[in-house]
């Protein structure tokens, strides 16, 4: 009978008084704005990278692998020399790699929700989309990192953008806008899909054809008519054309406008859809 009573005093020293004091000083600040809350969630994603740096593997190794593989595999056959091919293929591989990486947005969210911490977030008095906007902004950091890896390696291999730093920056900027918008598809699916494997499978089924059946590797004119028709309207093709134009300094205003419109449409459709399924997620 003596054991419980000693336990109790010990516990008390840990808790009661200190907890009471802590409760008493708990002031009630104004609820944060949407942007501030989003930045806080961005910070959370950055902390997760700090604690689990392995998750950057895909944004560093994928780009290196893709660029080396495709440049040396196709360069000689398709453009006569690897350095000539690189000028055309690098913007394409940039788009392909970063578009592929967007799929991790959905996977991360899916895992995050399954762990249960979103219950806490959803019970807070904050602008609800900030829970998802924050991670998407953090993905922007990952996309930028992947782009940097490709560009640096590209420069080493002989990529020479005619439009200089400004053109490259504009191209990467456009890519980030498009990928941020594309990611909303994966947030919707990340919430709806029950298992990570199913989500991964579905993402692959969308992304592989979308990125390969485009003008990334070959000029569309060489394709059979029906395939050429798809390639021409593929948003990835438009984005690649716009990026090549921006980086090498030819006019691509039309393509840029269409890419921005597609991006806006993606957010307009999948943003609210994501929030709808997020609210209903049990």
């Amino acid at each position: 009978m003596s054991a419980p009573s000693t336990e109790r005093t010990e516990a008390q020293s840990v808790a009661s008084d200190a907890v009471l004091t802590a409760l008493a000083v708990g002031s009630r600040p104004e609820a944060p704005g949407g942007w501030s809350a989003s930045l806080t969630f961005w910070w959370r994603a950055m902390l997760k990278i700090k604690h689990v740096p392995e998750q950057l593997f895909d944004v560093t190794m994928f780009p290196i692998m893709f660029l080396l593989m495709f440049t040396y595999l196709f360069g000689g056959a398709l453009a006569g020399s690897t350095s000539a091919y690189l000028q055309q293929v690098l913007p394409g591989i940039l788009v392909m790699t970063v578009a592929m990486i967007t799929m991790y947005t959905g996977l991360t969210l899916n895992r995050d929700i399954q762990k249960g911490v979103h219950d806490r977030f959803r019970s807070l008095p904050i602008w609800r989309p900030s829970t998802l906007v924050g991670p998407l902004l953090a993905d922007g950091v990952r996309y930028t990192l992947a782009s940097t890896v490709i560009l640096v390696l590209g420069l080493v291999l002989g990529f020479r953008p005619d439009a200089g730093v400004g053109g490259v920056a504009a191209g990467v900027g456009l890519l980030l806008v498009f990928c941020f918008s594309l990611s909303w598809i994966w947030t919707t699916l990340g919430i709806v899909m029950r298992s990570e494997e199913a989500l991964m499978g579905l993402s692959m089924m969308v992304l592989f054809p979308l990125t390969f059946v485009s003008n990334v590797f070959v000029p569309p004119e060489t394709l059979p008519n029906w395939l050429e028709a798809f390639v021409t309207v593929n948003p990835i093709t438009l984005l690649v054309t716009a990026m090549r134009g921006l980086m090498h300094g030819h006019a691509v205003g039309g393509e840029i406008a269409i890419v921005l419109m597609i991006s806006a449409a993606l957010v307009a459709v999948f943003g609210p859809l994501t929030m709808l399924v997020y609210r209903r997620a049990a």
Binding site: R8, S16, V19, A22, L23, G26, R120, S123, L124, A282
Partner: protein, 338 residues
């Protein structure tokens, strides 16, 4: 804390189904401001679903639920500003350190970075987690996990806090610490609604208890009212000689004026006790009659026994862990070997 006339929680005819299962089925609860209210029930009774609806995480299918006077469906934002929920599972980010979690939530409550950090350090200190502040939460023990969970819920002092099974799976010492924290919350003026599978816990902490089963309240009242209906405890007796069980059964039935249960163990008997004073008398009667008692214990009725009394059948969906020795009723039973 809130001097208003309305109850902290008012639930009437609340219903939620998942497919064809009615997880919550006409629930009715009323919690007074400042009270410590316990919802007692086995797994699958609908406790968590009910709490999630009250915390505005889940939309009810039917019925009324008002929290601090606000409707959960039409005014969720007003509720979220004044209520905290500590879920049964991860309610903090396991990949982040304890301190990072608290700073993160402090920011989300609207604190500046500096204030959020100060608040985090204060809470870590109060909950005895300063040493573990920089470690990832996934490395914490069960008791530390619970403490950081609760600390995360009181970054901004809530008027009402929901605790979903705050001590399930904890060792007795950690459980006592959580109990102390819960008592401190109530004495600080916060209304607490907690769910539990342990009658002992509800009895130790709660002013009022609702026993729920299949999403419905099957008994409600103060701890003493509840115990009056199920008995103060259960006497378990084990004899040296199984041959004497029949004789012991007669004697106990007479002296305790209760029906005696015999189970698989041929030397064991148990009886629900309404008056502890009679236990000593009954035991001495056994000795006088030459029935040798190997050991006996007087324990509080388990959830199973409460259910048996209230519903006439054992609690449904009991998980295996209920019998793995963590049941706090074991800690309060006095076991004596004769």
């Amino acid at each position: 804390m809130n001097g208003s006339a309305h109850p902290a929680v008012y639930v009437d005819g609340l219903v939620k189904h998942f497919g064809s299962t009615r997880a919550v089925d006409g629930l009715q609860i009323e919690v007074a401001p400042g009270a410590l209210y316990g919802v007692l029930g086995p797994n699958g009774a609908g406790k968590t679903t009910a709490l999630r609806m009250l915390a505005t995480l889940l939309r009810p299918d039917a019925g009324t639920a008002r929290v601090l006077g606000h409707d959960v469906v039409t005014e969720p934002k007003l509720i979220r500003r004044r209520v905290s929920m500590t879920g049964q599972f991860a309610s903090v980010d396991e990949d982040l350190s304890g301190r990072e979690n608290l700073v993160l939530l402090g920011r989300l409550w609207g604190h500046r970075w500096r204030d959020a950090a100060t608040r985090a350090d204060g809470l870590l200190e109060a909950f005895g987690l300063t040493d573990a502040a920089g470690r990832q939460v996934k490395t914490y023990s069960g008791g530390m996990r619970r403490r950081i969970d609760i600390a995360a819920s009181i970054l901004v002092t809530p008027d009402l806090i929901f605790l979903d099974e705050p001590t399930t799976g904890l060792d007795p010492r950690s459980r006592n610490q959580v109990w102390e924290i819960v008592r401190a919350l109530v004495s600080g003026g916060t209304t607490v609604l907690l769910t539990t599978q342990y009658l002992d816990e509800a009895d130790q902490l709660a002013d009022r208890i609702a026993v729920i089963d299949h999403g419905r309240v099957i008994a409600e009242g103060s701890s003493s009212q509840l115990k009056a209906s199920v008995g103060v405890g259960v006497l378990h007796v084990r004899l040296h000689d199984p041959e004497q069980r029949l004789r012991a059964e007669e004697l106990l039935a007479r002296t305790l004026d209760a029906s005696i249960q015999v189970d698989g163990d041929p030397a064991a008997l148990s009886a629900r006790v309404t008056d502890t004073a009679r236990v000593a008398y009954a035991l001495s009667e056994l000795t006088d009659a030459g029935v040798e008692v190997a050991n006996f214990s007087l324990g509080q009725p388990s959830l199973d026994e409460v259910f048996l009394t209230l519903t006439g059948r054992p609690a449904a969906d009991q998980r295996a862990e209920d019998g793995d020795g963590l049941d706090p009723s074991g800690a309060t039973s006095q076991e004596v070997t004769a």
